[in-house]
């Protein structure tokens, strides 16, 4: 969907801000660009909607070079969310959301319809908020409007530059959670720039880690963590290694290990054996195989707490306890380390 080939940006009289970057983002996937400040990640992002022009290299979206249309035209089909939101202070919420549709000459009824839809999508009550000015909104609400505005014309691609950077930790966590849900539903191709590794691990399918304009490694969160391409990548995650590992290991990963060892989970599920919903009792937790260990562990109340694991289709799949999951995670971790030492 989005493809960058050997993209370089040199500002006059300085070193290369972006140096021969190449990556591909598949349709419907979220690609994270992370790295220290000044590593060139924002510049890379801005070259995708031509807020910056590359010095050399080719960028294409859906197989077509982005140079084929005028930049304004291109940008109207790319959602853009930035850290400071950049809502127009003199426009109401709905006027802000209607900016791109108006640029695209949508009919009034269609714009209004879309407004209702989007406010609902980002969880803002239309009655209450549609006519408010940005100054009358909280930081979290502003960011919701910012996202609604970026999605207004239903662009296939959304670029996000530190979208949660200006929020306080509590609001940030809540909105991240909602966004994660939302992004899954809307199936957009997204490039997300962030300096927050947890955010990247939480939201992104694949991550590119940059330093001094150069791409250090591209891969899934787990690949970056466990198979670092060089010392920089390794040391970049050092401070948060444990938490990141917990985030990148899924319940499914742990179940595999547990099954390999003698400490099997109870009643490996298989359909037709009467392992129906009746087996889930009222106080049992249900977790998905795709949930990260971090999210399961973070919510655990006691070590003997019983967990019913659901598979991709939402069917119960296995039962286990928090205690066993923790043991399994330690094994996975050990295996990962050994694998690296090999």
């Amino acid at each position: 969907m989005i493809e960058l080939q050997n993209v370089t940006k040199i500002y006059e009289g300085t070193t290369k801000a972006v140096d021969e970057i190449s990556f591909t983002v598949k349709e419907g996937k979220i690609f994270g660009l992370i790295g220290t400040s000044g590593c060139g990640k924002t510049t890379t992002l801005k070259m995708i909607n031509r807020l910056e022009e590359p010095t050399s290299g080719v960028i294409s979206i859906a197989g077509e070079s982005i140079l084929k249309q005028p930049p304004e035209q291109l940008r109207r089909n790319i959602g853009y969310v930035i850290q400071n939101v950049g809502l127009f202070p003199h426009y109401s919420v709905q006027e802000n959301i209607a900016i791109t549709p108006k640029l695209l000459d949508w009919k009034t009824e269609r714009i209004e319809e879309r407004n209702t839809e989007l406010l609902h999508m980002v969880g803002l009550d239309e009655q209450q908020y549609a006519n408010r000015k940005p100054a009358d909104l909280s930081g979290g609400q502003q960011q919701r409007v910012g996202l609604a505005r970026a999605m207004a014309a239903d662009p296939p691609v959304i670029l996000m530059d530190e979208p949660f950077g200006a929020l306080d930790p509590i609001t940030k966590e809540r909105i991240q959670l909602e966004f994660k849900q939302l992004l899954k539903e809307i199936k957009k191709t997204i490039v997300l720039v962030t300096h927050d590794v947890f955010e990247a691990f939480d939201l992104c399918d694949r991550i590119g880690l940059m330093d001094e304009g150069k791409m250090q490694q591209i891969g899934t969160p787990r690949e970056l963590l466990c198979e670092p391409a060089n010392n920089f990548v390794h040391s970049f995650f050092n401070n948060h290694r444990l938490q990141l590992e917990m985030m990148s290991v899924t319940v499914g990963d742990i179940l595999k290990v547990l099954n390999n060892e003698s400490d099997k989970v109870e009643s490996p599920p298989s359909k037709g054996e009467g392992f129906g919903d009746s087996r889930i009792k009222g106080d049992d937790r249900t977790v998905s195989v795709n949930d990260s260990f971090f999210s399961v562990f973070g919510d655990t109340h006691s070590e003997n707490e019983k967990c019913v694991v659901l598979n991709d289709d939402g069917e119960p799949f296995a039962t286990t306890t928090a205690d066993k999951l923790l043991k399994g995670f330690q094994t996975v971790r050990r295996n990962l380390k050994e694998g690296r030492n090999d």
């Binding site: 909607n49 930049p71 304004e72 035209q73 089909n77 950049g86 202070p89 003199h90 791109t100």
Partner: protein, 523 residues
């Protein structure tokens, strides 16, 4: 207070005229300043390199004292509405350019980035984001410019552009505070009015944005066009008159009556009159017969064939007490008696007005030529203060007396020149703020003494009789002494360009009146 009210009632037509002129000047300049300033400021935000020099330049213009700026305009654009509007425009430029630049510059970068990221074009960003967001600041700039312009426009009367300054300068020249107030009060009220109205608009900017912007633009445009039309549309035969002359007993009203003159009056500073006549801003001007520029600009003095003007023999007017305290002083001041003929005075004035020489140097050279001592120049605490009006001639005379006093007595003399009217110098003399100044007998008679018409008729045009009368009366009434006349006469004179006067066959003031009568009948 009632005096002021009566003045307004009596002069309501003139007050109204001046107010309209005042507003015309203010808003014509403001309209141009907005039309030029906005794009200039926008260009500055787009090309940062020109921002510094541009803001610096308009800033420096603002620091030029307004009177000086108006003065600079005269050689470039002459006098009248155009140079006044240009000067006001230059003053209005700074607040408008600076505020527009700052207003756009202060728009949050994130908002502009978001706008660009959403696919807005540069024009969209300017008209839908930057200008609306900067509008309160821009408007504050326009408001400041308006208030500045209303104030500075009072000075434009100095260069013959009219406005409420006419009353103020005439009032100053005549030492008439009611008249000063009659100009100052409406000017102040206008400034307060516009400040408040624009302030109110500024506060409700968000709500009023669109209708306001258009309304204001339309207002400025009509004001600009209207005032331009009313100022440049006329090609009538006009007379330039200095403020003091408009009100004097021997001044314009009497002249108008005596000769039955009928032509539009442009009030302007006496010093600018000759330039204005030369540059055809006016066709007749009231000047002084000894002014060097009459010859230099080839102007014709119309003969006063009905003997309207009294004799104006120049002589020093001195406080009696000063003469008593300094025994020798009278004799020293009389050394100049009968020494300067009218032709000589014209030549001396010409050296300063046209030859670019300093008054002091001209005075010293003249005394040298008569064989007087001029070697001593004292610079200590002054014993004698010599006053004078805002005329070249008065400066020269002042220096002549200073040199005589310092070289022939042990006293130290100093000048207090440039006082802006007869009444002001006269009251300074009465109050002992100056000890002497050169005055003209006709002025003494009509301005200082204000005699009844029987006395004026009895004295007639006789130099001797007028001199004796003012000498006696001023001594009795104010304790002031007229010393012996210097020899020359500096009368008021109606001037025309020689070429035009000859073309129209105008020799005397009666000829002028006759010509105007015919011209008016034709129209």
């Amino acid at each position: 207070m009632t005096d002021l009210w009566n003045f307004f009632v009596a002069n309501r037509a003139e007050v109204l005229d001046q107010t309209t002129e005042h507003l015309g000047l203010t808003f014509a300049a403001l309209a141009i300043a907005v039309a030029v300033g906005l794009p200039l400021a926008i260009a500055c935000t787009r090309y940062r390199k020109i921002a510094g020099p541009t803001l610096g330049t308009v800033g420096v213009i603002q620091t030029i004292p307004s009177i000086a700026l108006l003065g600079f305009m005269i050689p470039l654009l002459g006098i009248g509405a155009i140079p006044a509007i240009v000067a006001l425009f230059l003053y209005a430029l700074l607040p408008i350019v600076r505020n527009t630049y700052a207003g756009i510059d202060e728009v949050e970068p994130a908002v502009v980035e978001a706008a660009r990221g959403m696919g807005m074009t540069d024009r969209h960003i300017l008209t839908k984001v930057e200008l609306p967001l900067a509008m309160p600041v821009i408007f504050a700039g326009i408001r400041t410019a308006t208030v500045i312009n209303v104030g500075v426009a009072t000075l434009c009367a100095l260069i013959g552009a009219g406005g409420l300054g006419e009353f103020i300068f005439r009032g100053i020249a005549l030492n008439n505070s009611i008249m000063i107030l009659a100009g100052a009060l409406p000017a102040a009220l206008l400034a307060i009015f516009f400040d408040n109205v624009l302030g109110l608009m500024e506060k409700n900017m968000q709500r009023l944005l669109k209708p306001l912007a258009w309304g204001f633009a339309a207002f400025l445009l009509t004001a600009g066009i209207w005032s331009a039309a009313s100022m440049f549309g006329s090609d009538t035969f006009r007379i330039g008159v200095p403020p003091e002359f408009l009100e004097r007993a021997d001044g314009y009203p009497g002249l108008e009556k005596t000769y039955n003159l009928d032509l539009p009056v442009v009030e302007m500073n006496a010093a600018l009159m000759y330039e204005a006549l030369k540059n055809e801003r006016v066709d007749v001007a009231v000047g002084y017969s000894t002014d060097g520029r009459i010859k230099a600009f080839d102007l014709k003095v119309l003969r006063d064939d009905r003997n309207y003007f009294p004799p104006y023999d120049a002589a020093p007017l001195v406080r009696a007490s000063t003469l008593e305290q300094n025994q020798n002083l009278r004799a020293v001041l009389n050394k100049l008696a009968g020494k300067i003929s009218t032709q000589q005075m014209i030549a001396l004035n010409n050296k300063v007005d046209y030859g670019g020489q300093q008054e002091a140097a001209v005075a010293e050279a003249f005394l040298d030529s008569l064989g007087f001592e001029t070697g001593i120049n004292r610079n200590g605490a002054p014993d004698i203060l010599i006053g004078g009006k805002l005329q070249t001639e008065q400066y020269i005379l002042g220096h002549l007396y200073r040199l005589l006093i310092e070289n022939y007595t042990a006293l130290d003399a100093e000048l207090r020149m440039g006082l802006a009217g007869t009444q002001i110098v006269f009251s300074a003399l009465k109050n002992g703020e100056v000890d002497l100044y050169p005055e003209y007998t006709g002025t003494g008679l009509h301005v200082l003494l204000e005699p009844d018409s029987a006395t004026v008729a009895r004295l007639g045009n006789d130099s001797r009789r007028v001199y004796n009368h003012v000498k006696q009366e001023l001594q009795q009434q104010y304790g002031l002494m007229w010393l012996q006349p210097i020899g020359f006469e500096n009368t008021y004179a109606l001037l025309m360009r020689r070429e035009q006067a000859e073309e129209l066959g105008v020799e005397t003031i009666s000829d002028l009146a006759k010509y105007l009568g015919m011209k008016n009948v034709e129209l």
